[in-house]
Symmetry: C2
Subunit: 241 residues, 2 copies
């Protein structure tokens, strides 16, 4: 893991860009004498890790006493896109504009993206836990729910997870949701244009966790109220501190 | 309003029993130099206001900086029961033991109970707001959701409400839910034996409020996790402080 830039932000949080092989990432850490619990924070895979809303979420969470890290998935954010990526994205746009069903396109596009992202996140986790000042335990907080499900099943170091029920979750992750047994907080926007409500409720039902909480708020995809950011941190506090 | 007993509790909260005409009530107040916002706290109408879980909720909320008041409805708790009350309760028990549908029995029993409770709660509110040290604004926090809906529609002084989706809500209140426009927090136990989940989700959908949040947790009727008590106070803090 190589740090390539750093800046100290107004709120005292240190923001560092890093690379791990081909993977570009960002790490936010507050000043702390004690080892920090770590939060892996993802975003919708179509957005860069520099997406302002995710950065705001990361900085807020760091200021509450967490090391927070995010990376871009292959073909996303700052990373080069293959011709196959471009074709898949173009086909998705075309189908959406034409009002055609997009589930199968999502399935074939996002399914492999999730599979390929998991070893990268695990390698990043290994590297982060070797840094001085980061001591675990580890949580996941993410807009990319499908990745979170896959990671929660594959990675025993993840102790709690907050998911945003707002995007397409491939069949494989809908099925393995029952294997997720860590404490969960699932956020749902009640009128999310792109996310059928019943599918989100079915996902909540499917999780195997004994402690799982659903927070549903009125409004569309991007309308999550600010207090959910604080609630999300309080959920992490209960399980990671 | 006549105070008939008082005791200072361990947490510094003053607990006072009162009567207002025939109505028996309890008021919990913390020590405070500034006027306190007021929370009307109800319980499932079949339980007394001395129900230990409700008292714990009331004391916790008072210690967080609220005047909290509860009264017993006619025929409930410490109040005398009429022969008609006793017949209705006996019929309800019989039907439940026989596995018969109980919706219509609930309807004819609880419908009038809600109607009759409203003027008593409003009279109590009038009297409470005349006490020194209680300054409003006013919130409602209650296990008796049907009463809360009726009060939220009838009583413009109520600025925010937390409901527990765990009991029978008469048709009249299900219909007037759309007239409720104050900020709401609805608590749902996902596996509540006595409360069909879809009915609770339909109720959440029906409320007319622009700001409404649903918190659903795994488990049965009495399994609400302790952190929802704190979340409920934080909801009140956002709207009453």
């Amino acid at each position: 893991m190589h740090f390539i830039s750093e800046q100290r932000l107004d709120d005292g949080v240190l923001e560092r860009e890093f690379t791990l092989g081909e993977i570009p990432g960002t790490l936010w850490t507050p000043e702390s004498a004690a080892p920090l619990p770590l939060v892996l924070m993802s975003h919708n895979n179509g957005l860069p890790k520099a997406d302002p809303r995710m950065v705001a979420r990361a900085r807020y969470t760091a200021a509450r006493g967490y090391a927070v890290a995010s990376i871009d998935a292959a073909g996303c954010g700052d990373r080069p896109r293959s011709a196959a990526d471009e074709r898949a994205r173009a086909e998705l746009r075309r189908a959406m504009q034409a009002g055609e069903p997009v589930d199968e396109i999502f399935e074939s596009f996002i399914g492999p993206l999730v599979e390929n992202a998991v070893p990268e996140w695990r390698a990043t986790l290994d590297a982060l836990l070797e840094l001085p000042g980061i001591g675990g335990p580890v949580g996941y907080s993410g807009g990319w729910t499908a990745l979170g499900i896959r990671l929660a099943v594959a990675e025993p170091r993840i102790a709690a997870a907050g998911f945003f029920a707002g995007g397409f979750v491939p069949r494989a992750q809908r099925e393995e949701a029952r294997q997720v047994t860590i404490p969960l907080l699932l956020l749902l926007q009640w009128d999310d244009e792109g996310n059928p409500r019943q599918r989100a409720l079915d996902l909540f039902e499917a999780f195997g966790s004994k402690e799982k909480t659903l927070h549903a708020n009125l409004g569309g995809h991007t309308g999550t109220p600010w207090f959910e950011l604080e609630d999300g941190c309080r959920f992490l506090d209960r399980h990671l501190k």
